[in-house]
Symmetry: C2
Subunit: 459 residues, 2 copies
């Protein structure tokens, strides 16, 4: 079957982006035949087809190549054009095609590339945008368990020059699998003739390259280490992540959440640097969604037009009443969104959260209700505003406030949990969205309460 | 003059919290006389009076004491009661009284105390709640410039056991002043017979204990180090801050900002752990302030009662119109608050921000205005809602939206800058506060525009 495919065919395959056929047809080829087949292609096309090979086959082909061809191939992986072709694949295809490369290839590739090239290549390694794989660096110190401390220090002195950090030293076995991590302090405090194996406890913290970076933040907070090892899915050491990069991640994540809570898409760029059209796009999208939802208030108000015509005084308190619901709703949702981001509240806590927010809503609603009641009664007494039915009006507003604040608080606290349950980022239920939701339903609460209390007097 | 004060007098002085007299009266005393005078007092009272001595005098008295009395005195500093007495002083008094203790005393004190005791003592050292002094630990590795690398490694092996980190080694001169910081990698990569002084470049990053912790975050982001030295105001090394503590600070600061933006006081405790009454207090305070401000909407609506009575249809769009102003205002304020917290926007940029937000407000307002215009025209065409003057009504809403979104955006972006200028935390201008401000003024814009366009038709 080998000889049915020619270099010309492969050229066409890449041009047509028809990668499915490639994996099918070469499934049973030997590494040597594959390597020979790829050789006449341009290095970019070779890199694409190589990248699409199944993991095991890629390892076999790679080890068959000469050092020179290996380097050329790996360098091509940082080529923007190559990255673009593979990025253009649908997410589904990406997941099924882009299996993790063998650890040895990843390591060699990352060491070969500059930090800029590494950024391009990390897309191509199949690591998602927010994954640990995008944060890792290939420069770290590794030792073997049979080294003495003196040998290890000597090894570090000789090979550690490029290492990103020396806070940690990683112990690997002969296949490159991570077997322990040691703090440099353990090595510095041990006497020179001790063996590395004497210091080992085989308990170590590590991340997988495919892990989400939020997992990394948690791991750093728990471990108090300055660097964590990154392995591929089989436990082979391929890089490390250092805490200063995590510091940036924590800030970025907080910025995203804050901007979403503020009712905008995450800008992803500094405010002063983002281009004006891009900023307007990100800001307008949410404002428009909120505006469209808020249009329902016009519909709701329209339904109560006759009530308003009869008792114009009711319309006077519309902004006050609905904004109280909105404020309590965005307060509750913000607290819960943040508590979830910090890992203080989990989905399974929904019942306890609801219980707490039920009580909070009642308390806060009663406080605002009392103030509202007093405000209307005092104004009525001082200025004779609101006519003869001021007491009933005050009662209407007070009861509405309790109901609306309770509802705002409950909706605000439950929506983030619901979104998380649906797999959506809870911060997307940004506070203004809750406020809008509560505005619309708040109007219904207000006019229903008014109907019950004022029927026969004002209405 | 010495013999005019007795131990009995001092006892009364502390009981009466009359510390002003103490500094006045002992200004010219010798260290020996002062030490003798303090000796018969209880160790708590001795600690208080010692702490209130001017810096130079405290150093002199301290070195006069026996080792045992030194330890007793320092231990007493971690006594809650002592801390409470000194904390009860007014902030002004604190600032003038609690001069920074001599570096030697601070170091010895911090090394003597457990982490829990250190927390108590740090209040007493006069370091403000959000200062670097509260974050520092006294356990670090220090070397002298005349050491060889081999000697330094030996020194680390012998004395480094308690050190919080070994990523950094600090070089001090014979007086204890910080003269350089070295990464452990520099030491590990150097050959053993090199001198520390050969590695030194006398360029080092350090923090002052009185610095705000936000300064520390910036310094860590700039330096990419895992630990930074902390000195007293004269440059004597007294501790270090490690990056894992900074990670917590970054998260805490973000949490505070997020909670404030959400319209609540910062909880300062995890959501699930804070006591219910405390949480309600923190949440109610802002909700009440917002409610009271929002009451102005009732006043504003009251002023336009006759317009509403004439054209009830106007009231239908009140929630839509004012919430658009609110949303755009909280969006703008959130973006600016975060950009300031990240150091992307400074006070001096106000003009550029205003220019950007002016354009943003116009663009966003025009987008929402067009949608609003179409909504009213389409409904009027489909359902004959809004009567014969639908076009004028649509025009009113559209123009109002442009004005209100522009105003919301400008107010939302300028208020945080104004607050920073006034020395207030910009996050306190939490988004709902801007929304409330814009609600009230938005009503005026709406009814003014309506008056101009609908005069003679609906009004």
């Amino acid at each position: 079957m080998q000889n049915t495919i020619t270099t010309h065919d492969l050229d066409a395959l890449v041009e047509a982006r028809n990668f499915n056929g490639w994996r099918e047809e070469t499934r049973n080829w030997s590494a040597g035949d594959l390597a020979d087949l790829l050789e006449p292609l341009s290095v970019e096309k070779e890199a694409i087809l190589f990248r699409l090979l199944p993991r095991e086959q890629a390892a076999a082909v790679f080890s068959y190549l000469s050092d020179e061809r290996q380097d050329g191939l790996l360098k091509a992986m940082a080529n923007e054009e190559v990255a673009n072709i593979l990025n253009a694949m649908s997410p589904d295809d990406r997941t099924s095609f882009l299996e993790e490369l063998p650890a040895k290839v990843i390591q060699q590739m990352l060491s070969l590339l500059s930090p800029q090239e590494r950024l391009v290549a990390s897309q191509l390694l199949g690591y998602e945008e927010d994954s640990v794989g995008r944060l890792m660096t290939p420069d770290f110190v590794r030792v073997r368990s049979q080294f003495t401390i003196a040998q290890a220090l000597d090894h570090i002195r000789r090979y550690g020059f490029d290492s990103e950090t020396m806070s940690m030293v990683y112990v690997i076995d002969e296949t490159g699998r991570l077997v322990d991590d040691l703090r440099i302090r353990q090595i510095l405090l041990a006497s020179p003739e001790t063996y590395i194996s004497d210091l080992m406890d085989s308990r170590f913290a590590s991340l997988k390259a495919a892990d989400n970076r939020e997992v990394a933040v948690e791991a750093f907070k728990e471990s108090d280490l300055n660097a964590l090892a990154v392995t591929d899915k089989e436990g082979f050491l391929i890089g490390i992540v250092t805490v200063d990069d995590i510091l940036d991640v924590v800030e970025e994540e907080a910025t995203e959440d804050i901007q979403k809570i503020g009712g905008s898409e995450a800008l992803d760029e500094p405010y002063m640097k983002i281009s004006f059209p891009k900023m307007i796009r990100k800001r307008a999208s949410w404002l428009v969604i909120l505006f469209l939802s808020e249009m329902l208030t016009a519909t709701a108000m329209g339904r109560f037009e006759s009530e308003i015509a009869k008792a114009v005084v009711l319309s006077i308190f519309v902004p006050l009443v609905i904004s109280s619901g909105g404020n309590s709703g965005s307060q509750a949702s913000t607290l819960i969104i943040r508590a979830m981001a910090l890992g203080e509240v989990h989905l399974r806590d929904w019942w306890r959260v609801m219980h707490r927010e039920l009580l909070s809503g009642l308390s806060l609603g009663s406080i605002l209700g009392s103030i509202g009641f007093l405000r209307i009664m005092i104004w009525s007494w001082l200025f004779h505003s609101y006519g003869e039915h001021a007491f009933l009006l005050a009662l209407t507003v007070a009861i509405t406030l309790i109901g609306i604040v309770l509802w705002g608080t409950l909706a605000g606290s439950m929506l983030p949990l619901l979104l998380r349950r649906l797999g959506v980022d809870p911060a997307t239920s940004s506070a203004p969205f809750v406020a809008t939701l509560v505005d619309v339903s708040g109007l219904t609460i207000y006019f229903t309460v008014a109907g019950l209390i004022l029927r026969g007097t004002l209405l």
